[in-house]
Subunit: 143 residues, 2 copies
Amino acid sequence: MDRVKLFNDFLSQKGLKSTSQRKLILETFLESASHYSTEELYLKLRKEHPRIGYATVHRTLKLFAECGIAAERNFGDGQTRFESVHADEHHDHLVCTKCGLIIEFEDQKIEELQKLVASQHNFKIENHRLELYGLCKHCRSPK
Amino acid sequence: MDRVKLFNDFLSQKGLKSTSQRKLILETFLESASHYSTEELYLKLRKEHPRIGYATVHRTLKLFAECGIAAERNFGDGQTRFESVHADEHHDHLVCTKCGLIIEFEDQKIEELQKLVASQHNFKIENHRLELYGLCKHCRSPK
DNA sequence: ATCTTTCTGAAAATCGTTTTCAATATCTTC
DNA sequence: GAAGATATTGAAAACGATTTTCAGAAAGAT
Ligand SMILES: [Mn+2]
Ligand SMILES: [Mn+2]
Ligand SMILES: [Zn+2]
Ligand SMILES: [Zn+2]
């Protein structure tokens, strides 16, 4: 559990405290590979821990993002989503507009061409987002 | 003025009315090539037409999007922006995180590679977004 | 001109997110 | 293991962008 240590180091370095809620939220967040909205993770946690508060879940997700173990995403449904980040890996997304399925991909050629475009405009890229929206394999076929 | 006719056809086809506000908003929207938030366009309009309402501006922008003469964009600053769409042209964006400058580009190779990625996942693309965030030419150089 | 329907603008409502605040938990220091 | 200092929690309120409501005004049909 490398990310747990990473988060604890982040907390102590910032003078923040290690609480049972933070441990619980991190554990649950790491359990699944999904792209959670605050609401979704809150509802999942509340099943087993009815005392947990929405604000705590949200604040903790923001902390994950701040320390780099989570990334904030926005797929245009009006909710910010958080996903677990592995080391310095990067990926982009295919998003099914019908069932919500999210597929991750990385294409090195596209990444290169992005850099080329940026340099042609004298632009220094800090980050980017590429999302392909459409119908997934299952939602394409009627039946 | 092709887009004016397009909008009027859209209105009459839907049983909607052609009002002085709608004419004015469309005219002002088309005048500039910028990526307007509702707020921005509202403030611009209000200078010459203090009686216009925010809700009317917003509703009208949504109508533009619905009839295809505008597209909704979201560059992560929490505001929906509307830009004029020319025919079926498509483009992506470079966004300066410091000054807000928006540069448009289209790279045919990237578009091709996106299709390839999609087909590899048996995915049917409906639309996509590619945004490169960073520093523009001016904001890069200190001075 | 009259009637019917849609539109407008101000204000209120909504939705996701963030902040506030009093009670509680954690961490230090003795 | 207390006691004190500081950060955290959860509920509720505040927030900011967007959307809806509603009564009066305007547009279009007859
Ligand atoms: Mn992902
Ligand atoms: Mn554009
Ligand atoms: Zn699907
Ligand atoms: Zn700039």
